[in-house]
Symmetry: D2
Subunit: 310 residues, 4 copies
Amino acid sequence: MKTLNTTLSNTLLIDILQQVRALIGQGKVANYIPALAEVPNHHLAMAVCTVEGEIFSAGDAYERFSIQSISKVLGLTLAMTRYREDEIWCRVGKEPSGLPFNSLVQLEMEKGIPRNPFINAGAIIITDMLQFRFSTPKQRMLEFVRSLTGQTDISYDNQVAKSEMEHASRNAAIAYLMKSFGNFKSDVLAVLETYFHYCSLSMNCVELAQCFNYLANNGRLLNNDQIITPIQARQINALMMTCGMYDGSGEFAFRIGIPGKSGVGGGIICVVPNAFTVAVWSPELNKSGNSLSGCAALELLSQRIGRSVF
Amino acid sequence: MKTLNTTLSNTLLIDILQQVRALIGQGKVANYIPALAEVPNHHLAMAVCTVEGEIFSAGDAYERFSIQSISKVLGLTLAMTRYREDEIWCRVGKEPSGLPFNSLVQLEMEKGIPRNPFINAGAIIITDMLQFRFSTPKQRMLEFVRSLTGQTDISYDNQVAKSEMEHASRNAAIAYLMKSFGNFKSDVLAVLETYFHYCSLSMNCVELAQCFNYLANNGRLLNNDQIITPIQARQINALMMTCGMYDGSGEFAFRIGIPGKSGVGGGIICVVPNAFTVAVWSPELNKSGNSLSGCAALELLSQRIGRSVF
Amino acid sequence: MKTLNTTLSNTLLIDILQQVRALIGQGKVANYIPALAEVPNHHLAMAVCTVEGEIFSAGDAYERFSIQSISKVLGLTLAMTRYREDEIWCRVGKEPSGLPFNSLVQLEMEKGIPRNPFINAGAIIITDMLQFRFSTPKQRMLEFVRSLTGQTDISYDNQVAKSEMEHASRNAAIAYLMKSFGNFKSDVLAVLETYFHYCSLSMNCVELAQCFNYLANNGRLLNNDQIITPIQARQINALMMTCGMYDGSGEFAFRIGIPGKSGVGGGIICVVPNAFTVAVWSPELNKSGNSLSGCAALELLSQRIGRSVF
Amino acid sequence: MKTLNTTLSNTLLIDILQQVRALIGQGKVANYIPALAEVPNHHLAMAVCTVEGEIFSAGDAYERFSIQSISKVLGLTLAMTRYREDEIWCRVGKEPSGLPFNSLVQLEMEKGIPRNPFINAGAIIITDMLQFRFSTPKQRMLEFVRSLTGQTDISYDNQVAKSEMEHASRNAAIAYLMKSFGNFKSDVLAVLETYFHYCSLSMNCVELAQCFNYLANNGRLLNNDQIITPIQARQINALMMTCGMYDGSGEFAFRIGIPGKSGVGGGIICVVPNAFTVAVWSPELNKSGNSLSGCAALELLSQRIGRSVF
């Protein structure tokens, strides 16, 4: 915990990516929608943003991709700015699920209350809350992300959103099941449309590292705007640690030891509290649905600079 | 993260216990065996041991109680000293279970490989490994705990162990189920007998804080003996964070933000890496099976001295 | 098996209803939609139709009610007239579910293939098949039921259908889950609309006994029209025996010993092969969701005339 | 239902076996214990015993084999002679399980009450009841079977029983799980030892058809001894219909339409009430664990003589 930033450098990141590149071919690009299946598997990117605002990067760090479930952290953050703590946590839990990210078994047994906001069911509930509160929830999210990053051209990949909507059956089942338990307020298909747009946010690794820097910085942006309270930032980090990597969260904590959230697009964002955020991208996924080379890169980084929170 | 130890003091702990004492009566003392059910609910204790060896304590911090599942951390540590990483983790996983601590559902679906070493099934597997490696596994554990604490009179509560053995059916079912999948080597009843003895270890909060100090101190004892490697210490901390509090691990991370392991005797041990360990004891449990007042005391401590890892 | 029809009479049925009337008050009228919840619990009716066309009846046997899941037998019969055996049974199974009638757990584990055509999921698949084959599936069902009974004024209770559609979330979840596995062809909401209309069919006990007489008569109507083959009639009877009474099918076979299908409206239709059909109606349900007094009346009938198939 | 016995003949059975012999090779001999795995797959046998005592047979009808789960019907019958109805059915249910024969999932959810007496858990409960009531339960069963068949040399295959006991883990898990819920009275291992002996009963098809003739004959033996009441015989037939063929009971009722009970040794016993019993044997099993060629032979028989109960 002592060697803060001393070894962070572009060279370090380049070196790490070079080591993990050999793993490409061992994972599997997400193929449930064509728009994701067509992304070439050779992409590899890494970017760091320190709480002082310094940026380090390597590989395709300026190429945008579909951030997918990483957007679940943004949805939760936005909900935290508009709802009281008890309003959120009576509708979604805080526990790891112990199951694949889109299973309905648990949701049925637990009467429509999703285990946590980082599985699909939980993120759909959060989206339902945003849909209920905002007149233009898609526009509101864009503004939020643009304000977090300072990048005004970040937007949705409408082709991805459309493709997701066409393959929405599983998530529609999840949403209707929650509705059947009374844990859903808006129109199911309208909420899914918003949800898939959030998933389709197109960002690059540098933008991701900047975007989530508030989680490393006690809820503050680099420009000192306080987005959420320091306690809320810690709460989100805790949720990422226990629930952020689907059913591979325990393994990720064991190997890498910092809070993170992954997406099926192959991106992962991680937070080293009071130090920096780091984003990686490599489209091939491991069996838990997390970027295979991305996890390896983060493990190397954690080892090199000794920044596990444990 | 900056204010290390400055505010740790006996007074602080006394003050915290005073605040949480009001909660006594809201939880439920474990009653599945008489020996636990008879423990008076009014006990309340807290002790801290810093990585420099300084001790702070309050309440019944020198009264011993049944540490129960806290012993699972000791079992894993001992196994790590005698087995290679791959030998352990092919027989037990690293993921939170998302289910009560003694459910068989998941164990059957996942073909006899328990989710993690901190649920009963996982700890029984670890005990099976110790039983296989040591000729006198009960004696070996006693020696280990005595060496960690320097307290040579720590021992098993044989009445508790006997009572557990008489109510062993659920754990026998778990063990036989794993055996049916080929994930069990020794005699089931012999392993259970050892396992229940581990659970019956009788220690007080000061001893617990001392005992687990190696987890805060990169695997080293206060006398500088290296028990496990720094990486192994971090791995155990990570497992405690994601799996240490049964199906309340996410909530505990969210509210308190440090790795911990609880027992149904009402004890909890927590680790603030590179800083200190803290043990609490209050027999009444919350719905997840963790000490109700104990969790509250740890939350207050975490808030007062700002030592969440997040 | 020897005493065929000798004891069937209006007096017998009247006597049976008198005995079971005492049970009214011990069950619970279905209350998930207002239109069903408002049906008075005191209704009690029974009607028999022999394969020779003789009718016996008692109580409110000419009062219509919502037949609900009894319509699942009609849907399957209609599908059998338009699809080959293999086309049907690759999309729905033939096994009892061992679970409540609208659970999603099993459906997810078994990859969107419902256990049998008499649970909701299975009947929705059958409706999807009818929706795909018929241009006006609601009209087609009406014509079918009218031809089976000779009653040209049988129709849907549109208020019930509308109310069901407003509480469709659980069934929508079921349908979307099957769609996510590729086992669904038409539009989900359109199929549900048809499905709920089938459920809302309004018939009385005499009409029900007449309507299903083809199942007692080797697939033939009383006017000798062959609706389905003798083998198909036996197959439907077999499915009713093993799956017709939700998770109370085993108990029903044990106590009463003839094939039957119940609905949450409190109706039950039973078949004594080569002898007669019998319909009962009493709105209060037992814990398995079958008419409480209806089951009791059928048990008495089975005892009195010795017509268990076993 | 009219053509009773007219077509039953040795020639018919020989003809049927000839037709189904072609299926040998498509199933799989049970291999969980060596004693069963070593049985040659070419065995094929069929025997009928009418309620008048006439015997027809074909193939290896006089070669004995391990009857395995067919013994569950004998255990239940014996229990019915010594326990009141309510004493039995408070400890075991009457519903199909919808799951493989030795799953623990349901048993845990349903608090240690097995679904029915024909899955392992249920038969183990029945054995626990017999163990509790009889001083020599193994000897008592032998006497019972010998009295039912008149064959005084029927006995256990001790090699099979021993082999089962050595692979008892799964069933031990089941028994201990029930014990943990308070639904078990005797010593687990002693009960399992008795249970495996029952499973190891060695009988041939002619003996099986004779043995179970009381189920076709209203509870009476051919010598007119009343073993159980006519109602109890019907109850057992009903349970065989809904639960007798594991998770293939629905398919069996659909295709064959008579009550039956199978064993993993490849035997099946079926009952045509008031007419005859029929036993088949062919060691290869289908996916549900029922004799593949045996089912085919029974289907042919059912078609040829038109004796489905439906």
